[in-house]
Amino acid sequence: MNASHSGWDWISVLVMSPLFVFIYLPVAVLVLFSFHAGQVPVPPFEGPSLTWYAKVLASDRITSAGFNSIVVGVLSSLVATLLATLAAWGLARHRVPGARAIEALLFLPLAVSYLVIGVGLLVAFSAVGIGKSLMAVGIGHVVLNLPLAFAVVYGQFDRDQARLEQAARDLGATEVQVFLRVTVPLLRPAILAAFLLSLTFSWDEFIVAFLLSGFDPTLPVVIWGMLRTGLNPQTNAAGTLVFLASLAAGIVFEVALLRRRRDARAG
């Protein structure tokens, strides 16, 4: 076990390769057969063809669901990020009695299944007469994403930053000026990361949307409906498009976090 820290040894390759095959196999098959020319997405592969992508983009049901998903995702992520940022600022920069209890409360939804959160909202909303709607889904997605966004932003507040804020205050800046001109710029990567994380989770979320969306479904709910038709290259094409959108947000998220780390190291 002489760990050489640069080269590849055969044990590592032996461990890595089957796991990577396992991890990539379904995605590879999904993407490959989205370009399939035949009716059923199984080997042998025929094509490549863009027929199924054309069908997906021509389907009103899919595109309007995609639009719903974007609206719910952007609005719920904005709300979650805003609430999380304010809470993180309040708890990190002020001495609040019972801060630990508030923190614990904000993190609590992480320990409960999405399904249970969805059932709870379904019961509570129907009890007070709020019907199934995109609004209901959005409210649910804020609940799901608030703890994550809070964790991301809260983790970014540190001592160096507090000193810079104090300096601004000493130079006569008001609280609002301090927040807008010192705190927010320093936190920008973390806020962006929190927003993108929320966005991808909302974009991908199924069960809460399934329970609460009613006649205005989001994209995962529509794709769920498409699965009833069995194996179909159109589902592959839709799935590939959803994957690419998430991947794009994921990459921006990684870059934002990476820059945050570099900034932290440089600062």
Binding site: M1, A3, D9, V15, M16, L19, F20, I23, Y24, L25, P26, L30, F33, V40, P41, V42, L83, L86, A87, W89, G90, L91, H94, V96, I102, L105, L108, P109, A111, V112, S113, Y114, L115, V116, I117, V119, G120, V123, A124, I139, V142, V143, L146, W203, D204, F206, I207, L211, P220, I223, W224, L227, L231, N236, A238, G239, V242, F243, S246, L247
Partner: protein
């Protein structure tokens, strides 16, 4: 600081004490929107589940005098008990396999890859994480279909003479779950492993420990918080997941989430769904308590 302490007994609060109070109020006001949101849309609905679980549905109407009828039905009916048992079994199997597969992957990345390449390899290892949850299960259906990639491979290589039934059973559900949670556990375990000072491993070696001893007595114990965090997340998410068993498991056996959705969509029996949700929450709490030792150690 001293000012605020002294002020507590003084009739007129000092300027510093007033400042401290204003500071506390301001912080509280900032945290208030998030707190209220969580109370209104998480705490209250959770309480609603508890209350509704005590109601019951009789002859199509909601009966609101509280009782434990739903819980009694849970204990009496095989469908419900079996679903709970299946869920616990499947989730435990998934958790164990995911951790066992993720550990070597995280270990190789954390110890065998040069520092500046680790992040890239980690990203590559979890890239399919970004596939949509619904689509991911469907993708496995493609792979496991009777004329899918795996069966073609088995037939071509002579491992099988006719297509093997790979989908619509418990094995497919476990496989679909493990695929997702291997990636999740790799992230948490890597985070723990990367935090271990390499000097500790070298010190153990210098003191005469062989590779296995170093691993068992230094690396593994220090990485337990990551293992526990991964295992807990796997347990919470898997036991509440409806999608994977519904798509990949077929109808051979039902898990708790499937039975809960059945109550809501087919039976319109919200009280029973609420009671089953309560039991699900109880299971998650049990899992948390079982792993609490390592989960809380991680925070401090």
């Amino acid at each position: 600081m001293n000012g605020s302490l002294a002020a507590s007994g003084a009739p007129v609060p000092s300027a510093e004490a007033r400042g401290a109070r204003r500071d506390a109020l301001r912080g509280f006001a900032l945290a208030l929107p998030a707190t209220l949101w969580t109370i209104a849309f998480f705490v209250v609905p959770s309480a609603a589940i508890l209350v509704w679980s005590l109601f019951r549905r009789e002859g199509g109407v909601l009966v609101t005098d509280p009782g434990f009828d739903n819980y009694r039905r849970f204990l009496e009916q095989d469908t419900f008990r079996l679903a709970l048992w299946n869920s616990v079994e499947v989730t435990l199997i998934v958790t164990v396999i995911s951790v066992i597969l993720a550990y070597p992957l995280a270990y190789v990345i954390a110890t065998r890859v040069s520092l500046h390449r680790q992040r890239t390899w980690l990203m590559l290892a979890v890239l399919p994480f970004w596939t949509s949850y619904v689509v991911r299960s469907y993708a496995w259906l493609l792979v496991l279909a009777p004329d899918g990639v795996v069966n073609r491979f088995l037939l071509a290589t002579g491992f099988a003479t006719e297509p093997v039934a790979l989908s619509f059973n418990r094995g497919a559900t476990v496989l679909g779950f493990v695929h997702f949670f291997v990636m999740l556990c790799t992230l948490t375990i890597y985070a723990s492993l990367a935090r271990i000072d390499p000097k500790l491993r070298r010190a153990a070696a210098d003191l005469g420990a062989n590779g296995l001893q170093t691993f068992l007595r230094v690396t593994l114990p220090l990485s337990m918080p990551g293992v526990a965090a991964g295992a807990f997340l796997t347990f919470v998410i898997a036991i509440g997941d409806y999608v994977t068993p519904q798509i990949l498991g077929g109808n051979t056996e039902l898990l708790m989430p499937q039975v809960i959705l059945l109550q809501i969509n087919r039976r319109a029996d919200i009280p029973m769904a609420a009671a089953l949700s309560m039991l699900l929450m109880l299971l998650v709490t049990a899992a948390y308590l079982a792993l609490a030792r390592w989960l809380t150690a991680r925070r401090t």
